[in-house]
């Protein structure tokens, strides 16, 4: 457009670099300009909006006022004792509460509110059709949250620094508390974004808002009490403290990644690949869990934690499977364009491709991997490893918790894998039949699988209760379809269900194999979907972009010089 070459209109602000060419200030401005170009546009926009927002200004000034009021009041209460008493902790605790309220309640809720409102009034749509994808939008929101955190922290920073000058508190504890709170705030904000992403668009998400607000308030009070205890607990020199920190860091990263990818999935259209990244994150989370449980067995020698791994993994994969087996089996041409080219690639990686059958395979694969590792942890090799690492000389649990017979662990694993194969397999078949009539929404997937589990658990339970002869018998082989009670018997009680072990380990795998076989045609149909060729227009565009990148001096658009 020719009018781009026109000089600036009268009164239009000229670039500083034009006014002060060659000066250090101009170069600094130019550098800042380049830096700002690299920033996420959402961050830039939300920073500008926040600075004018009444909520932000009120929170900031309330924090500031509260901080100063407590500084004066606290010092007045301490009097000359400020010089010699250990008052740092109590002063810091009140400052912490002032800081935690915006970080743990206001910021996460505003993150939720911002995305939910944007989706409701369709502002989100306008942003979603720019070059920013769902990942970019979520990262922008999270960067904005980070910036808000910094600003709130800066308001209380002088107060926090002041507590360090008092007795009874070391700098490291202050730093740790602040870092923990910032990380928790970021995580809760991601939870808020997830809530906003799963809320139905163009409707006021009242339920989600109330649930999130209640959750945030609960976390705030739990955090306050935990931090109060942490400040009194001097564990920095204890290696176990750092091991626990490391395990929490891994858990945090896994949970954060899964929540982020779930939110991204909800914000991405169905013709895109919404599964692969999430499946990788889930597999990594499973591997991490196995790793940490193995480390726990090595460190503390308590092998009964293996049952915890089996129970938690079964519950988690059932939950995940509810969504996965309800995916559409038809891959869009766009997704098919990125399928592996080679046959070995397709064999090895097809369980990561979207689709209910591949997802079913993926869940079973992870369960089997977990089962193998759980059984390995009960073998003598592991005890030798423990002795070799020297952990056995540090801590030893009571003998009753040191031994889990491999046979029993194997049984629990077989039963767990079988239940997952049966319930998800049957659920997949039902959802597949329903899909012929209408689209399957996530709520429907949950309803079908929960109903299935409920019937499987409830029916034998009611039958047993309704018969006076069996009412007080406890667990009986009748409960074979009751996955919840059976797994509870294995994992919480730490032993095979009385009188039902052989029935469970023979019948359940047979049923599971039958259900799996019934699902094989679906899997074959999914595997047959061939890689789609790249459209010629896309290849042409790729070539154009590559040529343009090679000649960077060439104007990239009519706006360029």
């Amino acid at each position: 457009m020719s009018s781009l070459d026109e000089p600036l209109a009268a009164g239009e602000p000229a670039e500083l670099a034009d006014v002060l060419p060659g000066t250090k200030w101009a170069r600094f401005e130019e550098w800042l300009g380049h830096l700002s170009d690299r920033l996420n546009p959402i961050l830039v926009k939300e920073a500008r909006q926040s600075l004018r927002s009444r909520q932000f200004a009120m929170t900031f000034f309330l924090m500031l006022i509260a901080g100063w009021v407590w500084s004066i009041l606290g010092l007045a209460l301490l009097g000359p004792g400020a010089y010699y008493s250990a008052a740092g902790q109590s002063m810091f605790f009140v400052y912490y509460m002032i800081l935690a309220a915006p970080l743990l309640i206001v910021i996460p809720y505003s993150a939720y509110h911002s995305l939910a409102i944007e989706r409701q009034d369709r502002t989100y749509e306008l942003v979603s059709i720019t070059a920013l994808d769902a990942t970019g939008i979520l990262l922008g929101k999270l960067s904005g949250i980070g910036l808000q955190m910094m600003v709130y922290l800066s308001a209380l920073f002088p107060c926090l620094a002041f507590t360090y000058l008092l007795r009874g508190l070391n700098l490291f504890t202050v730093l740790l508390v602040v870092v923990y709170t910032c990380l928790l705030s970021l995580f809760l904000s991601q939870v808020g974004l997830f809530f906003a992403a799963v809320a139905p668009p163009q409707r006021k998400p009242i339920v989600q808002g109330v649930v999130l607000a209640a959750l945030l308030c609960f976390v705030f009070f739990v955090d306050i009490s935990m931090m109060s205890a942490f400040m009194r607990f001097d564990a920095v020199d204890d290696p176990e403290f750092w091991e626990v920190n490391l395990s929490f860091a891994v858990l945090y990263l896994n949970a954060f990644a899964i929540l982020f990818l779930c939110a991204r999935t909800q914000l991405t259209t169905v013709n895109q690949n919404r599964s692969t990244a999430l499946r990788i994150a889930l597999a990594v989370a499973q591997l991490s869990a196995v790793g940490w449980f193995a480390a726990a067995v090595l460190r503390w020698g308590d092998r009964h934690v293996i049952y915890g791994l089996i129970f938690l993994s079964t519950a988690a994969w059932f939950l995940v499977g509810m969504f996965i087996v309800g995916e559409s089996p038809a891959l869009s041409p766009r997704v098919r364009r990125d399928l592996p080219k080679s046959i070995p690639g397709r064999i090895m990686l097809s369980w990561l491709a979207p689709g209910p059958a591949s997802g079913y395979l993926f869940v079973l694969g992870n369960m089997i991997m977990m089962a193998v590792m759980a059984v390995v942890m009960t073998t003598p090799i592991f005890e030798e490893l423990r002795n070799f690492s020297g952990a056995s000389s540090i801590s030893n649990p009571p003998p009753s918790r040191r031994i889990v017979p491999s046979g029993e662990a194997l049984e629990a694993c077989i039963v767990a894998v079988s239940y997952i194969a049966i319930y998800l397999g049957v659920g997949k078949l039902i959802l597949g039949a329903m899909r012929r009539y209408d689209e399957i929404k996530p709520a429907m997937r949950i309803a079908v699988l929960m109903l299935l589990l409920g019937v499987g658990a409830g029916a034998p339970w009611i039958i047993q209760l309704s018969n006076p002869a069996t009412r007080n018998l406890g667990y009986t082989p009748l409960q074979i379809t009751n996955a919840v009670w059976t797994m509870w018997e294995y994992c919480a009680e730490g032993s095979r269900p009385p009188g039902a072990g052989p029935v469970l380990v023979t019948m359940l795998p047979i049923i599971a194999l039958c259900v799996w076989a019934l699902n094989l045609p679906g899997l074959a149909r999914e595997l047959r979907q061939a890689r789609a060729p790249t459209p010629p227009r896309v290849m042409e565009d790729e070539a154009e972009l590559a040529a343009r990148a090679a000649v960077s001096t060439e104007p990239s658009s009519p706006w360029d010089d």
């Binding site: 457009m1 026109e6 909006q49 259209t269």
Partner: protein, 317 residues
């Protein structure tokens, strides 16, 4: 159903279908828009215009069929489509606490424009949409006309070759409407392909090269107003004014037999006939020969509104 064949269309809809439960919102719609053309999309409320436009803007997916923008499929390559498309929906952005210039700057950044290129784009768009004087105003304080111009600015900030505008003139005062029409004309002159829907048919008739009429999700007609008129019209309308004896002219015309639906309309007489312009010339000669003193004689050209009313049946889903 007619189809417009174009060898290098900027917008192309191929057997597009979109179903919402039992309702077929868009049913086998096909048309294309060439470079530099303004294409009008007309239809009653609920006809499927907005759904078709949302599919083109990659905000919705078709149940079957496909749509292409600059050769890229909206279902397969939405990311490439988005960089080539400016969408102006029938609703406003309601972002709080953001200035006009910052708003445009945000969208320019979101489309990947950087540094001086972005500043020039924002400056040009503000100048084009005459928003220069409002750069320091927050967008929630703008009037409807100003917001509409801002929407146009946002849609064109990345200089897309294709623009889609859903009811851009709705609720605007006459001056704002004229300004908008001029801007659309300028954009088309710059080579952009524009798909625009409106209820104000006189506006569309003036700015569009081609129109499509849609009802109940089905495309009823595509072409220029004249083409649709020619394709649909079986009878021509004539309007005659005589100095006196209007009643006599009515009787004389009815007695002829080749004129239908002869009606007296104040000093005028209107009629329909099955012939062409030559028939009209013969009729005029005969009326004068019969002794009627003719003041005005003309065939009535159908407006877009007439064509719309004739083509559609007022059905809604």
């Amino acid at each position: 159903m007619s189809e417009v064949i174009d060898t290098n269309p900027q917008i192309e809809l191929i057997h597009l279908q979109r179903r919402f439960g039992p309702v077929m919102a868009v049913d086998d719609v096909c048309f294309s828009v060439s470079r530099g053309n303004v294409f009008g999309f007309i239809g009653p409320n609920g006809a499927g215009k907005t759904t078709s436009m949302r599919i083109l803007a990659t905000l919705d997916l078709p149940t079957s069929g496909d749509a292409f923008v600059d050769g890229f499929s909206v279902t397969q390559d939405p990311d490439r489509v988005r960089t080539r498309l400016g969408f102006m929906p029938d609703y406003f952005d309601t972002q709080p606490n953001i200035l006009v210039e910052e708003y445009l700057d945000f969208f320019a950044r979101s489309y990947g424009l950087m540094g001086a290129e972005r500043q020039r784009a924002v400056r040009y768009v503000m100048s084009f949409t005459k928003l220069d004087g409002l750069r320091e105003k927050t967008i929630d304080s703008l009037s409807k006309g100003m917001k509409q111009r801002l929407c146009l600015g946002r849609a064109m900030v990345h200089d897309p070759p294709v623009m889609i505008m859903d009811e851009p003139a709705a609720g605007l005062d006459p001056r704002a409407r004229i300004q908008l029409r001029e801007m659309i004309g300028q954009l088309a002159a710059d080579g952009k392909s524009i798909l625009v829907s409106s209820h104000i048919l006189t506006e569309l008739a003036e700015m569009c090269d081609t129109v499509a009429i849609i009802e109940q999700g089905k495309l009823l007609a595509v072409g220029t107003v004249e083409e649709i008129h020619r394709a649909r019209q079986t009878q021509r309308s004539v309007r005659v004014r005589v100095l006196e004896n209007t009643e006599g002219l009515c009787n004389w015309l009815e007695a002829r037999g080749d004129a239908h639906n002869v009606q007296r309309d104040g000093p005028h007489v209107t009629l329909l006939h099955d012939g062409d312009q030559e028939t009209e010339a013969d009729l005029l000669r005969d009326v004068v020969t019969a002794g009627f003193r003719v003041v005005a004689f003309g065939s009535h050209a159908e407006s877009l509104e007439d064509v719309f009313m004739r083509v559609t049946e007022g059905l809604v889903q």
